[in-house]
Symmetry: D2
Subunit: 285 residues, 4 copies
C-alpha cells in the first residue's frame, strides 16, 4: 500500500527558473518528491509539469495550499490543479449496445486495477442491465430519441451530479452529446472512437476504412468537446490488416483495439497524467 | 540464380472451379507451379489470383499464351496480365528537393535488391544531379512552374516513353501530376505520401498532424490516380510519437517511415504481387 | 446465421496438381468452396491447405468422407483432418490467481464471439469460483502440490475427458503440466506465456526483461508440448517500453498483451486455421 | 542554425532537491535552460538527468566548469559528463560484406542529418572501398583471421585513435571484438544485432528465428561490452512475419529494421541522450 501523495499539474508561460521554484517549494515544506515530469513547448513558449510528493510530513496542509503556493504560482502566472492520491475519482460509464469496452472496464474495476470508484452505468438501451447489476453497480436505462434528447440529457446530468461523478467514460455510447452536456464536464468526458482520428470521424468508420482500402486500422481515445470527434487526443493505437479482412473482421479486430486504447486513456486520467493545451494533450506516461 | 518464371495475375467473377481450372491448365502444359495465391472477395463476388510457374519445360510459348489460355480465360470471363521474371521492370524516379527516398532507392538498386532497371531520374530541381550521376544514371532537370507545367509534363512523358519506362516512382516529388500524365501510366505510378491516409491528405501533413495532436504518425504508398492522394493504397506504416515531438521531429521520424513504406510498395509491384480493384489493392505479399 | 460448412486441413509432400485435385474433388461433389488457402514450404517440400465449403448440397456425407476422399488423399499421401462449423469446440480453461485472461475469455464467451462451448474452469486456487459461477459455469478447485501433482492431474484429465473437452486453454495457469497430461491433449492445449519467446522462457519473465533493459516487451501464445515454453508458437505481439517502466509497469502493460494475444490464438484454433509442422505453425488468418 | 548549447549528463544517489540545485545552478550563472529531462529509478535509488542550456551569456566558461560546478556536484556525489553542441562527434564505421547499414549511414551523413564528422570506414573486406571513397571518405581494408586478429585490432585501434574517433559504429561488422578493443572505447561502440535480443544472440539469428517459428522478428542496437550481444540495449524494433516468410525473406525484411534501429541509436548517442546504468540505458528521447 503506497503512502498517500499529492499530485500537482502546472502550466505557465515558459521562463527561467520554474523547475527550481517548484522543486524548492516542495523541499522547503519538507515534501519528498517522488516524481517530477516537465515539458516545455518551445514553439508556444509554454511550460508544463506534473509533480508528485508524499503527503507524510509535508508542511503545508492541502486545504491551505492555495495560500502556501501563491508566492510561487502568482509571479509565474501559473495555472494549476491539485489532487490527492487517496481521494479516488468517481467514474461513470455510458454505453449503448456494444459491450466489449464495458466488460473490460468492469473487469479492471473488479480487479482493483484503477484508483477509482465506479459509481454508475447509464445506457440508452436496457441490454446490459444484467451485466452491470451482477457487479453490484447501479444501472440506469435512459432512452434517447430526437424528441426526448434534451430531457434525457438533463436526467443524465442530474444522475451524474447527484453521484458526484468527476469522470464520464463513453464506452461505445452511440449518441452525440449536446454542447450543454459537454460543458457540464469539461475535459472530464473520455470517448473511444473506432478509427484512427482524424481519419474516418463520424459514423461507420470501419466500413469507410474498408472502402478506402487502408492497410492499418486504429482507435482513438479523446476528451469530448463540442465539436464531434475533434477533442484532444489522449491515446491511439493501430492494427495491421490486409485485403483479406472484410468489414466484419475490422469490427472484430477493432474491438480489441478500442478497449485497450480506452483503458490506457482512463489510466492516465485517473493518475493525473494528462494536461490539455491548444486541443492537444501532454501525457506524462 | 533462380530459373525464370512466368507470373499470371488474374481476376474474374467468382464461381466454382476457378482454381482447379487454373492449376490444371498449368499442369497440363507441364508447368511446375511454385506459387499460387488466391483470394475471393465474397462481398463483391470477385476472384483474384497470382500464379507463378517455371518457364523451363512449360508447353505453351509465352508469345502464344493468349491462344493457349483462352479455353480457360474466356468461359470464366477472366481479366489477366502475364509477366516474365527474366524481363525486369524499367523504372524511373521523380524527385524534388528531399533526397531520403532517392538515397534509399539508389542504395537498393546498386545492391541488386530489386528486379528492375533504374533508367532515369527526373527532377524539378537541380540539387541531386551529382548524387544521381555518381551512380552512372541519367538525371534530367525539368523545372516546373504554373506557366510551364503542361510543357514540362510533355517533356517528362516523352523522356519516360523514350526510355521504355513502365514504373514511375514519385520519391517525394512535390508537384501534382495532371490527369493526362496519370493516364499515360495507369497504375504504374507509385507515390509516397507523408501521412497515414486518408488523414492529412494534401500539403504539410506533419504540421497538420502536430496541430491535431495525434499520437501516431504514418506514411502511405499508393498508386497515383487523378484524384490527389486518393489512389489505391498499397502499403502503410506508422510510428508512435508524443507531445515531446515537434514538427521537426515528426519530419525527421517520418523520413524513415516514408522510405521504408515506399520500398515495400516498389518491391511488391516489381514482383507482380499487386492487383487493383475498386480503388483498393490486393497484396499477395 | 451462416449456413454450415465443412473445413478440411491438409498437408502432404508437395507435387504438381494438388490444388487442382482438391478443388476438383469438392466441385465434383457439388460443393461450393467459400475459402481455399494453401501454402507450400518450398524448403521442406510440404504442401498445406485449408479448404472450407458449404455442406448444403455437398454430395458426400461427412461420415463417409474418408471413403469419398480416399481417391484424392491416398495417391498424394495426405494427412488430413475434417471439421464441421456447426459442431462447436468444447473448451476448458485452467487458471491460477491472475484473472485478466479469464475475465477476457468469459466476456468473449458471454458475448457469443466464439464458436465454442465453454464447459468448465479448473483452478489450483479457490479465488475465482465466484467469478466463474456467476457466469453459470462449473468451477473445480483442484489444489496442486509437489506431492499431489500426479493425482491432481489424473483428476483434471478425468474431468476434461468426462466433459468431452477438445481444447484446453491455460489462462495464466502457473503450473507445469506433465508430459502425460500434454500427451492426453496433443496440440489441443494453448498456453499464454508472458514474454516474447524464446526470450525469457520460464519464471518471472517481466523481471528478467526489466533487468536486461529491453525496449519492447511481448507475449506469446503457443501449443503446449512436453518441453516447457518450447511448443509451436501461434501468435505474438509486443508493446514498446522505456527505462521509465519498472517491473510493475511491465506486468500491468503485459496483462493487456497477454489477453489479446491469447484470444487471437484461440480464435484461430476454433476456426481451424492452424496447422503444425516441425514445431512451427501455419496460420491461415 | 541553432545557437550553441552545453549538454550535461548527470547521475547520483537520489535525494531531495537535486533538480532545484541543478536548475538553480544554471539560472544563477545566467544560463537559459532549453531542455531538462530527469528520471529517478526508485528501485535503485538513483537520479539521472540531462540538462541543455544556451552557451550565449552563460557565466561559467566551460573549460572551468569542473570548478564552477563543484559546489553542486560534490555534496550530491554526482557523476557527470559535459558536451558542447558545437563540437561534433568524430565517428567511424566498421563494416563487413553487407552494406545496407553503411549505405544508410552515408546517406544521412551526406544529408547533414547528424551532428558528427564521419572520419573513416574500416572493413575486413575490400568490397565497399568504392562506395566509401565515392563519398570522399578514407577506407581502410584490414583483413582479420584467427591468426592475425590481435595485430589487426592493434592496427584498427591505432587508426581510430589517430583520427580522434569517439564513436565507433559496427554496421554489420561480422567480427567479435576482443575485450581489449572494447575497453579502448567504453560505451562508445554501438552494434546492431539482427535479432530481438536476448532472443537469438550469436550467429545466424534469422535462421534460428525461422526454425523457432516466431511471428515477429526484431533488431537491437546496443553498446558493445566484453560479453557478446549482452551490452546495454539502446533501441529495438520489430516487424511482423508469418509462416510464408522463409529465411531469405526474414533477412530482407530485417535489413530495413537493422538500418533504422541503428540510426536511432546513433542519433541519441550523438545528441547525448543516453546514460548507462547497471547494463541498461536511460534514453532521454
Amino acid at each position: 500500500m503506497p503512502s498517500p501523495t499529492a499530485i500537482l499539474l502546472v502550466s505557465c508561460p515558459d521562463q527561467r527558473g520554474i523547475v527550481a521554484a517548484l522543486s524548492s517549494f516542495i523541499t522547503q515544506h519538507n515534501g519528498n518528491i517522488i516524481a517530477l515530469d516537465q515539458y516545455v513547448d518551445n514553439q508556444e513558449g509554454v511550460f508544463f509539469a506534473r509533480m508528485e510528493w508524499e503527503l507524510a510530513g509535508f508542511g503545508c496542509p492541502l486545504d491551505d495550499f492555495t495560500r502556501c503556493f501563491a508566492p510561487v504560482a502568482d509571479p509565474l502566472h501559473m495555472t494549476w490543479r491539485l489532487f490527492r492520491s487517496d481521494k479516488p475519482h468517481r467514474m461513470a460509464v455510458m454505453v449503448s449496445k456494444q459491450a466489449h469496452c464495458l466488460y473490460d472496464i468492469l473487469a479492471r474495476y473488479e480487479s482493483g486495477e484503477w484508483p477509482a470508484e465506479l459509481v454508475l452505468v447509464l445506457s440508452n438501451h436496457e441490454d446490459h442491465r444484467g451485466l452491470v447489476e451482477r457487479h453490484g453497480l447501479p444501472f440506469h436505462h435512459i432512452p434517447v430519441t430526437a424528441a426526448t434528447k434534451a430531457a434525457a440529457e438533463a436526467q443524465q446530468i442530474a444522475l451524474l451530479r447527484e453521484a458526484g461523478v468527476d469522470l464520464v467514460v463513453l464506452a461505445r455510447y452511440m449518441q452525440i452529446l449536446s454542447p450543454a452536456f459537454v460543458d457540464a464536464f469539461p475535459m472530464r468526458i473520455i470517448n473511444i472512437h473506432h478509427s484512427f482520428l482524424p481519419a474516418f470521424a463520424g459514423a461507420n468508420p470501419y466500413r469507410a476504412a474498408h472502402e478506402r482500402g487502408v492497410k492499418i486500422i486504429g482507435a482513438t481515445a479523446h476528451y469530448v468537446t463540442a465539436a464531434l470527434d475533434e477533442g484532444p487526443i489522449i491515446e491511439q493505437d493501430v492494427h495491421r490488416v490486409s485485403h483479406r479482412q472484410g468489414v466484419d473482421d475490422l469490427v472484430r479486430l477493432g474491438r480489441d483495439l478500442e478497449k485497450i486504447v480506452l483503458s490506457r486513456a482512463i489510466y492516465w486520467h485517473l493518475h493525473h497524467r494528462l494536461l490539455v493545451y491548444k486541443n492537444r494533450t501532454v501525457v506524462f506516461s
